[in-house]
Symmetry: C2
Subunit: 471 residues, 2 copies
Amino acid sequence: MYELAINLQTKSKTPLYEQIYNYIKREIQDGHIKSGERLPSTRALSRHLEVSRSTVELAYEQLLSEGYVEAVPCRGYFASQIDELYQLEKPAIPESESETESFQKYDYDFTPNGVDLNSFPYNVWRKLSRECLTDDRAELFRLGNPQGEYGLRNAISSYLHQARGVNCRPEQVIVGAGGEYLLMLLVTVIGNGHRIALENPTYRQAYRLFENLSCQVCTVDMDKSGMRVDRLQGSGADIAFVMPSHQYPLGIVMPIRRRMELLKWADEKEGRYIIEDDYDSEFRYKGKPIPALQGYDSKGKVIYTGTFSKSVAPAIRVGYMVLPESVLEAYRRKCSFLNSTVSRVDQLILQKFIEDGYYERHLNKTRALYRNRHDVLLSCLKEMHGNFRISGENAGVHLLLRFGQGVSEEMLVGSAAENGVKVYGLSGYYVKEEGRKEGQGAVILLGYANMGEEKIEKACRLLRKAWEKYL
Amino acid sequence: MYELAINLQTKSKTPLYEQIYNYIKREIQDGHIKSGERLPSTRALSRHLEVSRSTVELAYEQLLSEGYVEAVPCRGYFASQIDELYQLEKPAIPESESETESFQKYDYDFTPNGVDLNSFPYNVWRKLSRECLTDDRAELFRLGNPQGEYGLRNAISSYLHQARGVNCRPEQVIVGAGGEYLLMLLVTVIGNGHRIALENPTYRQAYRLFENLSCQVCTVDMDKSGMRVDRLQGSGADIAFVMPSHQYPLGIVMPIRRRMELLKWADEKEGRYIIEDDYDSEFRYKGKPIPALQGYDSKGKVIYTGTFSKSVAPAIRVGYMVLPESVLEAYRRKCSFLNSTVSRVDQLILQKFIEDGYYERHLNKTRALYRNRHDVLLSCLKEMHGNFRISGENAGVHLLLRFGQGVSEEMLVGSAAENGVKVYGLSGYYVKEEGRKEGQGAVILLGYANMGEEKIEKACRLLRKAWEKYL
């Protein structure tokens, strides 16, 4: 039997039982106590160490629960056999590149992904969040409906019906933590044995995500009406991912005829679907909003998705998906055990925000704000009398400048940068360069959501200077 | 040219331009205006209808943007060709079954998934949420770090190191909206070309999720130390999903030797990993907490996951994953463009909750609470002197009763139900019946987190009565 030479520190903060446990554990780890070797009985060790028997028992129990020793009835405690011991050591993990990356500082940034956060109704949000945490408290911290709470789904479906012409019931709505999560969930529901066609250029994150989810992905050429259905036919795809209200990044509004062609395509074969990403349809500055494609679909072919990222704030992380019956049935069969990814408190705040009319008011306010910025930007650009055509205006929060021959995107982006203005070249939005046509002129994207009117004017003056020789 | 017989309602709430737009749209949809047919000029129509020309222009522009008409320069407006029209009609969506399902009412429910929400620190949570929304407001609504905010990741990694022996830096931590989402993300990172081995019985949701994500899944038999590594070797799996601290549902604590065998298995081949689900390790009522498997791993083979669902509340929807270097590298390459699924406000509340010591206090409080319930339940069960053995006790929030031969789970569950007590049979936790051994006695799970001591005593009296003939 092994002799334990433990030097107990009675004045230490570490309890005596833990000192004994630590000592024996280390002796076993280091191989000083061999596997199969018998340990002293609790009675013998307590006498030897002059501690109570229960102290030793506690130490032995801990060793037992972690598996360092084994108890054999009527025989005592034996060191377990441990083949190999892995040491605790800090593996070297490189710092995240994004956290160390150096970046150029711009005075003005025409990012197409901006949102004006100054207009965010902080006081209302705070008030609602206080209210939500006051009443009906315990319930809110219990798991809720996997699809999202009925109240919120009801508020969303009413809003979508009224504002977007979406034809749905709350039962069809799935609430989730952002658009990307909802696409992941969708692929989990429909499986990844699909071939998904996206426009080119497109929302590249969706392309990459589908690709990473092991779906087959392809791109389909566009004309001025959006995705070409004749090319879609030839692509072998069974799912088309489109943004009919305001294509990203080209800003194309898909006309009714193309919409009907798309719906017809989907209806021609069992299992075909259209994913409609209605990402920024809240913003339209001319006439009535253009209804969602989903509203024209009577055959259950459109999977509609949207988020509150542009219309409320990117960081609230709430999106929704409206599933047609066949997909809903698959969701219920395969994924309804997956808990909702949005906390119930956040769901309730948002529900009240919509139901109490704050959402509509906020939308009206930001729509007016963005309209003014849109108008100022348009008039500044027109004053330039440049060698470019403007497109994608009247909706969303960005527009495009299409330059004539003889000037490259790199030159335009580069000379703007030299003057402290960040603008975005269209080439960055192409999936591989396959969709880019030879000899096509440079195209620049300008987003205006995150820039005040005065800033837009100043930035345009700088652009005029920067681009003097190209205009 | 088509003659428009519009009956304008000057007193209607619908603007005149919209009435014109609606009328023409319907005429085109119904085929009364044929495709290619020319519409009256804006001047002619405005004179005909006795409205201003801009009213007609507005209507035409809306028709143009939606694609119902086309403008041909110098010639006028023509109805577009629309092949087929889909009518807006409500598809019949069946009510969700869970929403209409009838259910039996129980007086006592020994659910293994309960959490005591009465002890949730509502006041603190409300205070922190108020504080978070007050200071540094705008920033919180901007998109944050895709992995989760550094502050929260730092708080989590310190906690994990100190409380669970997890060996990690904040750079390795990914915060996400719940454990299931994190598994979806993980599969997106590592791809679904893996074969994943789970214990049987196991946390079935994980099995189903992997299956739905098109991974190959299999089960591996257990012995009293947990997953059998010899069987794992033969399974062809390259990923093992285990719960070493307190296996769900069997409550097995994996001894150190088995842990080492598992780590050795993972190290034997490139690309092998262990997913450690540390789902309820906060609760241990005897001795020190047993460190996580991850802490013994020096080869970067363990992917550690956990959530705040049991330790704070299920509905806050925050979990975390600690990635070893090779997986972290794949995450950065493939998925770092995916935005975080937890709102920044919620992240900040949780960060403060941990940093200000509330989390530790809350854990101590609930641990004491659950320990009392655990002790009361154990002593009630021992008093029964039943034909069963207790296992899985001392940790987590549920334990198991293993009955001898001659009594079936159905009988035990059924007679408990007749007395208003809901208990859970182990068979529901098996993936297919493949792992169930013939002739194995009935096993009942009793969860106690959501039941006060008095309720436990009363429920046990009822169980004693219900099971009289089986004990």
